[in-house]
């Protein structure tokens, strides 16, 4: 404790994120901590399915590649890694990391955090927050994971573990835990915990604050997008921070990127709920303090919720999909004819059948009166089905348009996917028992 500053980098903002920005951060970022946030709402339910098929699986599919490239740098530069790549199986993930370390001739210990899996502790008759109906009405339940907070990560930080691997943890908590650990903040000092949560929220999507999901060549040009750098924050004991990125990497950190990210996925800026605090974003102040540098001050918080939020994964339906393209004269008219044919042949069996015209109105579900005739257009048919074979009918009908549909239809693609849905419930804190397991060489 008693450091004047710590530096935390974020090298991944979702499971499929690029690998090399984290390597650059670990190599050149002069970091104290590296965080990899790799778990979206549905990712853990899919990981649970893999674990059911093979008890040695269920951690992030990219864990091995990420760790292999990072581990020597983490050891050399004495950086502690905190990541939710444990997904549905942090224990197996931690063992995998030990195996990789042994192979590379490196000596480390790894902490695995479990206890977020609460499938045995929920009741399928409980009402889902989203629907008000019993969980079991949504479909067969396959996973239930509570969003844990800072407590088990802080416990793991007390150990020698260089890598802390979690399952479901609230994203900002991955960043907040090392701040509290280093600065000795009290976990009920909600003003500070709120500030730390703001910093974590700004970092958690990695490239989102360095120009990713931001660049617009006309109004918001960003240089070097193909080599986008990921961010780090210098965090100070008073809960302020400066956000930046490694010099020489692509992208930009400025007021605009920081403002967009501060409000990203915020449902109520006065009350941003995490397991650690109800944070207030309406008192945050941002300013540019240098090239690619944004200073963050303010923000606060009150209390912490009495319950954990639990994401419940369920088998929802099979999605059948098919696409076909038309181009040149009367492309739109021919595409619309294809849409009429598909509707007539499928609507009775698939009442929620959706026909999209890609190139015209599929993405915004409207074209706001832009009536310019597209040179080419793609028809997409999609519907829910109760079985894979029924779902396949959608793509089959689209494919049949080759020989039975409008002139010049080409490029059919078809697919069937099993869809896992997510609903939520709240669970009393006392029921959830996070656990830290240390693995050594």
């Amino acid at each position: 404790m008693g450091k004047a500053k710590i530096r935390i980098g974020c090298g991944a903002g979702f499971s499929g994120d690029r690998l090399e920005p984290a390597v650059i951060l670990a190599e050149k970022g002069e970091l104290d901590y590296l965080v990899l946030e790799c778990l979206a709402e549905r990712t853990i339910a899919l990981a649970q399915k893999r674990k059911l098929q093979d008890p040695e699986q269920g951690y992030d599919p990219l864990l091995e590649r990420r760790i292999r490239s990072l581990l020597p740098l983490l050891v050399q530069n004495k950086i502690r890694l905190i990541s939710n790549m444990g997904a549905a199986n942090p224990i197996a993930g931690a063992q995998k990391i030990i195996d990789i370390a042994r192979e590379l001739g490196l000596s480390i210990s790894v902490a695995a955090i479990t206890g977020d899996d609460v499938l045995a502790k929920i009741d399928s008759s409980w009402p889902a927050l989203e629907t008000g109906a019993a969980l079991e009405k949504s479909g067969p339940i396959i996973s239930a994971n509570a969003y844990l907070g800072i407590e088990p990560i802080m416990e793991a930080l007390q150990s020698e573990a260089q890598i802390i691997l979690t399952g479901r943890v609230a994203d900002p908590s991955l960043f907040l835990a090392p701040m509290i650990h280093e600065f000795g903040w009290k976990t009920d000092d909600y003003a500070l915990v709120g500030k730390g949560t703001v910093i974590g929220h700004l970092l958690e999507c990695a490239g989102h604050i360095t120009g990713g999901y931001f660049a617009d060549p006309i109004k918001k040009p960003v240089a070097g997008m193909a080599e986008l750098g990921h961010p780090f924050a210098d965090v100070f004991p008073d809960g302020s921070a400066v956000i930046s990125k490694v010099e020489g990497t692509g992208g930009v950190v400025n007021l605009q990127t920081a403002k967009e990210q501060l409000l990203y996925e915020v449902i109520n800026p006065y009350e941003y709920f995490t397991p650690d605090v109800i944070a207030d974003f309406t008192t945050v102040h941002l300013s540019e303090s240098g090239p690619d540098q944004v200073s963050v001050r303010g923000g606060t918080g009150k209390n912490k919720p009495a319950t954990y939020k639990v994401s419940v994964g369920y088998k929802a339906f099979f999605l059948g999909e098919g696409e076909i393209s038309y181009a040149g004269s009367a492309a739109l008219e021919r595409a619309e004819l294809a849409g009429e044919i598909l509707t007539r042949r499928l609507k009775d069996q698939f009442p929620d059948l959706r026909i999209d015209y890609i190139g015209s109105s599929s993405v915004h579900r409207s074209n706001f009166g832009h009536s310019a005739v597209p040179y080419e257009i793609r028809v997409r048919a999609v519907a829910k089905a109760s079985s894979a074979s029924q779902a396949a009918l959608i793509g089959e009908e689209v494919e049949a348009l080759y020989t039975n549909g409008p002139a010049g239809g080409g490029g059919v693609r078809k697919g069937v996917n099993e869809v896992i849905g997510i609903v939520s419930v709240l669970l009393d804190r006392g029921v959830v028992e996070p656990e830290v397991t240390i693995f050594t060489m």
Binding site: E41, V266, I267, V284, L319, H364, R365, A383, I420, I422
Partner: protein, 99 residues
């Protein structure tokens, strides 16, 4: 003039709820946005997208508006039949609005 000319936006999702920030390039345009981009006008503009209520938050501290739109993602990210299940592209639907 389209909102696109004076402001930028980022879309986010939580379940079936869509969030859209609206941030003027010039902070001096914040009052103009507060006056002219009301929740009612956004609701009318996004009538084909947002089925539920829209709440507008004014963030004077960063000179930005936030629109929280209920029932906007055709059932929600995980089970939507939309092309863009997250609604990630919808920031630019808001920016199509005429001032």
């Amino acid at each position: 003039m389209k909102l696109y000319n004076i402001a930028h936006s980022r879309a986010g999702d939580k379940g079936n709820t869509l969030t859209l920030s609206l941030i003027p390039y010039q902070e001096t345009d914040y009052d103009l946005l507060c006056d002219s981009v009301t929740a009612e006008r956004v609701k009318a503009h996004l009538k084909d997208v947002v089925a539920g209520e829209i709440i507008r938050y004014e963030l004077q501290n960063i000179h930005a508006l936030l629109f929280v739109c209920q029932q906007a993602l055709m059932g929600g990210v995980t089970t939507s039949l939309a092309m863009d299940t997250h609604g990630k592209a919808l920031s630019y639907a808001l920016l199509e609005m005429e001032l």
